[in-house]
Symmetry: C2
Subunit: 435 residues, 2 copies
């Protein structure tokens, strides 16, 4: 194990140095498609190479082709944080290399997953007694939730969501051969509950924090309609759910306690490394009925249902360990502090945009994402964004709202400071002035 | 970052010590259901705790509830290895925290994934030019392969496999609402190709290395039948695929080069930490047509298809980095050496069983898993296995073959030596004698 200790110390130092210096790197990768692949051997080595060679190529070849999600100046999509406790927990997870297929194959994995899901539900103010488990991403969480809904409502093949719901809802519907109907939104990009037609619906997906504008669908009204019609209510709070750790932001989550299933991604705004998506349900019986299948070679004496009986995939990583490490090392107060700071920074940026002639905020800002644009055409805004991102100083992304090309600034990295947000605004104005 | 360096050094030392001492730990966890959860606080902390507290509870509470998949004396299911390069690569993956959704969100991730899949295809003797990507587990690989098959063959709703195919095939068929028909096997637990009825079939799943007995379906004959009928051929080599790195074992893989899709799990027998399932196809156009869906907020200037367009899930971890690290640090020769040693050890164990009165080998052994039993009833064999596993010295699992309860010894850990296999045999005979 001496090589392991030496190589490990080098890997650890690599990560520490990387995180220390990541703010100074060009955020968006500056390579042409195919360049990285072309710089590496086209065949694997016949004989063993030292781990140091991997680190060398990581620096020389891979880093220039890396978009730095850990940069405090990453403001695109939803900004994330691989926090220090989570990074180190991944090392422990790998060292233990647990394969959760049955309870007995890793009691610690299963029970810690159940416990941390309960902890997180408490932190977010979700009802007691929900059944929770971890999936890789919200794509899977939404898929299995809609599969459960299809199972619960045989013969009903329609799923309803707003036109701003995440694309994974459409992908899930496609795989499940359900018909997706998109319901129009109001002027604040919220699903219009009065337009829901539930006769053939097995499920409605309501979003708290849509991907484009982080709009919040009217969950109480949708829950009323679902209850009348007996339709399954799935709440997608993949990004925004983290904000429910702050009591003063809880009003945005009204009604989610009535959902049949809820998804939140701790790998988005709770400091957990990729990947970790948490899914709760108040109807675990339906999930188990839809998914459980225990072959002979997995029968065991103990009478404990495995988490794999509640989902599609048989084997699971020990993801609970990193979620547990983050919840402990940050604590409720540490998470609240970070979420509040992000909301403050987004509010600040929003104020700067509002006050500046020639710029416009184009959507309400319930969380930490600001949607805005510069006066002028879509093409001008698109070119502006390209110049901003080409500078390497910050990275933002875009969307389309009300038919118009819109810029998005998403605050979400625990390492982002007010100076970083100020830089983004300076770069935006500089590039707009040079157009 | 000083705390990170200190905590990291402690985490690294924890893993090094764990791996050094794991051979001496009871392999199968010795806890009652609920005990671990009961030993931990029922609510998360309000204030931050040090990372050291996580390590303390890991030792005090979690380890006693851990089944040691890294133990060289783990012979259950399919034994695996989280090899040192892969463990350390997980640290790098976490430090970089890449989120692969589009090429531009991590060119290094996408191009290294394409490259390593190509490397691995070369090592395994798969045809050139296949399109490959990484999924979490074979459950997902098989699901998306069968979704592609369903897409390629509209109106055909039957999937065929042997009664020994993995349960994930049945789960995938259930989610896709395809009818699964199980085809009888011959005396060596191989699918009887002449019994395939392909009129309504969209796909056939052929297994190279079934979970119960590691039997090998007659892929050339199945491929002929699929070609005649236009059915999709999916080859499940999740466990055994690794063995194709050895030319002398390639005869077991005859015909897999004709598959429409092939799955191999490097997290099983190739030293990669959980999770990493590799899926290749010669029909990427079908996958892309079935899965691609690019919303406005993910449109980018460059004309590069994202790997997410070939599967269900949008965001991916940088799993390619650990596969790359393992392929480099072990090399072709290192992988061959380990696979050959495992096959040798399994052959040795098989010989001991054959020569011992009162014991019986009950299936051919094409790879590194031996299926055997002691004379006597199913109940006697079941109790024997319970005593062996309760000893903590080794951990084996069981299956049912030809209606009989059967014990399985799976060699698959890179850390397993002949002494460990000898110990398993000693413990088995000792417990049988004491019955």
């Amino acid at each position: 194990m001496s090589t392991f200790r030496e190589d490990g110390a080098a890997a650890l130092e690599w990560v520490a140095s990387y995180l220390e210096g990541v703010r100074e790197r060009p955020v968006l990768a500056r390579v042409e498609p195919g360049a990285i692949r072309a710089a590496l051997p086209s065949s694997p080595p016949d004989d063993p190479e030292p781990f140091a060679a991997v680190l060398e190529d990581l620096d020389a070849v891979l880093l220039p082709g890396t978009t730095h999600w850990q940069s405090p100046r990453f403001f695109a999509y939803f900004a994330t944080t691989g926090s220090e406790p989570s990074v180190l927990a991944e090392l422990l997870i790998a060292g233990l290399n647990q394969v959760g297929i049955l309870w007995r194959t890793s009691p610690a994995l299963q029970e810690l997953e159940e416990l941390t899901l309960d902890w997180l539900a408490q932190l977010l103010g979700l009802p007691a007694g929900l059944h929770g488990h971890i999936e890789d991403t919200a794509s899977t969480s939404t898929l299995v939730a809609l599969a459960a809904a299809r199972h619960a409502r045989p013969g009903r093949r329609v799923v309803l969501c707003s036109e701003h719901a995440h694309s994974s809802v459409e992908k899930a519907a496609r795989l499940l051969e359900l018909e997706l109907r998109k319901v129009p939104v109001d002027e604040a990009f919220r699903l219009r509950a009065e337009l829901l037609e539930l006769d053939e619906a097995c499920a409605v997906v309501a979003t708290i924090g849509t991907t484009s504008s982080t709009s919040v669908d009217p969950v109480p009204a949708i829950a009323d309609r679902c209850a009348e019609a007996g339709a399954w209510l799935h709440v997608d709070a993949a990004y925004a759910g983290a904000a429910a750790v702050c009591p003063e932001l809880r009003d945005r989550f009204a009604g989610w306690e009535r959902a049949d299933s809820v998804v939140v991604n701790p790998h988005k705004w709770l400091g957990v490394t990729m990947d970790c998506s948490t899914l709760w349900t108040r109807r675990p019986d339906v999930f188990r009925d839809a998914f459980s299948l225990v072959p002979e070679y997995l029968r065991a004496a103990e009478e404990v249902a495995s988490l794999s009986e509640y989902t599609q995939v048989l084997g699971r990583r020990f993801r609970a360990l990193k979620l547990w490490a983050v919840l402990r090392c940050l604590g409720r107060s540490g998470l609240q502090e970070r979420i509040r700071e992000h909301v403050r920074l987004a509010r600040l940026f929003e104020g700067w945009v509002r006050e500046e002639p020639g710029w416009e905020v184009v959507a309400p800002r319930p969380f930490s994402v600001v949607c805005f644009r510069r006066e002028g055409s879509d093409e001008e805004n698109e070119r502006l964004l390209e110049r901003v991102n080409a500078s390497g100083e910050v990275f933002l992304s875009h969307t389309r709202l009300g038919g118009r090309y819109v810029l998005r600034l998403a605050v979400g990295s625990f390492r982002t400071t007010e100076d970083d947000v100020r830089l983004a605004w300076d770069v935006l104005r500089r590039e707009a002035a040079h157009a």
